[in-house]
């Protein structure tokens, strides 16, 4: 029950998905659609697991009032505010008109509606769907534009400073291989920057016959040596991933057992 059932589920699902590619019978293709629907819904619960775990940890930190508990409280307040703005925003927006969609939908797509009744929404007493509508739910849009976006963008933008500092400290042409790495990086940096690329062309390659434009050199570097490296790596990664997949299908690897005891 605890070990064999997960193994059976993984193996049967995996083999069925491989089989539906090679034997695309109606039954297997239908099964694939159902499996994908299951996957999307279970995937949503996986997101819930992540969010719930984060909130649980911060709740415990805030409750114990240990070091940094105020930041944990800030996290929880941020979560609650954004969640309420997004998921309940529709409560505060008057619906434009009562939904009369059932008849319209069944006329416009009768065949699909029979297979997939999801295309017809229920009668709405409030505009729940407007929760994520940026034009209607201005609170949610405001929080996304002025709180979420600047912080997400700035925290990632900090990397610009560190990558520059790392370039200064670590990029040393100590031997031929390091020199090649450094040379390729410099060519790409200068070749992809319009200012250097433009002036190189204007001042050098237009006047000296066999010196190509910096943009062309960069493009050649990306198209040939870079592609050779990446393609070689893709073969390795592809074969390794294929081997790993087969190991999971036959039960030699069981990643679904991780973190849940014996």
């Amino acid at each position: 029950m605890r070990k064999q059932v997960p193994f059976l589920i993984a193996t049967v699902m995996g083999i069925a998905m491989v089989a539906q590619f090679f034997i695309p019978t109606h039954g297997l293709v239908q099964m694939q659609s159902v499996v994908l629907l299951y996957g999307r819904i279970i995937g949503a619960f996986a997101l819930v697991l992540g969010v719930a775990s984060l909130i649980r940890i911060n709740w415990i930190r805030a409750k114990r009032k240990g070091e940094g508990w105020t930041y944990a409280a800030v996290t929880i307040i941020g979560f609650v505010a954004m969640f309420l703005a997004g998921s309940l925003g529709g409560f505060f927006i008057a619906p434009e008109e009562p939904a009369e969609t059932a008849a319209v939908t069944s006329e416009s797509a009768p065949a699909e509606a029979a297979v997939e009744p999801a295309a017809t929404p229920p009668q709405k007493s409030y505009d729940f769907g407007a929760g994520l509508d940026m034009t209607k739910n201005r609170v949610f849009a405001w929080m996304f534009d002025y709180i979420y976006t600047p912080m997400d963008a700035t925290i990632f933008a900090l990397l610009a400073f560190y990558v520059a500092s790392a370039a200064y400290r670590a990029m040393r042409a100590r031997d031929l291989t390091a020199g090649l790495l450094l040379g390729a990086a410099i060519i790409v940096m200068l070749g992809r920057a319009p200012l250097t690329s433009y002036y190189w062309d204007q001042l050098i390659s237009q006047h000296v016959k066999f010196i190509p434009s910096l943009g062309d050199v960069t493009e050649w570097l990306m198209e040939y040596p870079n592609t050779a490296a990446k393609r070689g790596v893709y073969f390795g990664v592809g074969l390794a991933a294929l081997g790993q997949s087969i190991r999971i299908l036959v039960g030699l690897e069981r990643p679904y057992m991780a973190g849940t005891g014996d």
Binding site: A44, I77, F79, T149, L176, M222, N226, I248
Partner: protein
């Protein structure tokens, strides 16, 4: 600029400075911004999951199925197809309770199983076969009469640069693969061949590094554009040159 936009721009600018303050050293302003970001991001994700998955994929279809249950036999199947994944989904949450944590293996096995099944064909179709096909092309390119004129260097009717480039790509791929083949010692002429693979890898990594620098600078440019145009010009009202 309307009042909410004005207030928002000021708050966004202050949060931007809070995050940037980390460059000096770790400090309470950065920690505040970081904690708020984590919370807001989780709240945003949760709101989307509620709307785009539970409401769209579960609640609406179930309510419709219940409405037409009497007339439409397939509705029962639809109900089952929504309830079962929800039960499996709830089983994932059992990881919070160690004594029943094993229950989360079923839904994870389901996701990993079908994902792996898809992956088998996906890997072959995406990374292996097309990349092999990409290598099986003529290496020597010849100027043919009647085709568009070739302006580059030719030697005996052979397009020199194209041919050399094709050779670099072809030999490069083989040498990179040879470098990762550890069952044979990298010595002698084979060692020299794998050395060429290392050069290709270094050129590839260098190109990636150069692009990485470019990407990181672009992100900061976005923030500078915000501070200059939205905050200084838009919210404060100063006019900038340039």
């Amino acid at each position: 600029m309307s009042t909410p936009e004005l207030v928002g721009t000021w708050i966004a600018a202050l949060l931007t400075f809070c995050a940037l303050s980390f460059l000096y050293k770790d400090n309470p302003f950065y920690k505040f911004a970081e904690a708020l970001f984590v919370g807001v991001s989780a709240g945003y994700g949760a709101a989307y999951v509620v709307h785009q998955v539970f409401y769209q994929d579960v609640i609406i279809p179930l309510s419709v199925c219940f409405q037409v249950a009497g007339q439409e036999p397939s509705a029962i199947l639809q109900v089952i197809n929504r309830i079962v994944p929800c039960i499996l989904g709830v089983m994932i949450l059992s990881r919070f309770i160690p004594s029943i944590g094993w229950m989360s293996r079923w839904p994870l096995a389901f996701i990993i199983g079908y994902g792996t099944g898809f992956n088998v064909v996906y890997i072959v179709q995406t990374f292996l076969l097309p990349q092999i096909y990409g290598m099986i092309t003529p290496l020597v390119e010849i100027v043919r009469p009647g085709e568009a004129p070739y302006e580059g260097l030719t030697w005996g009717g052979v397009m020199v640069l194209n041919t050399v480039s094709n050779l670099v790509l072809f030999v490069g791929v083989l040498s990179v693969i040879a470098y990762f083949f550890f069952s044979k010692a990298h010595t002698g002429s084979y060692g020299k061949f794998t050395r060429f693979g290392v050069w290709m890898l270094m050129l590839g990594f260098g190109a990636t590094y150069g692009n990485t620098v470019m990407a990181r600078m672009s992100l900061l440019i976005g923030r500078i554009q915000f501070l200059l145009y939205d905050w200084i010009e838009g919210a404060i009202g100063l006019s900038l040159p340039g």
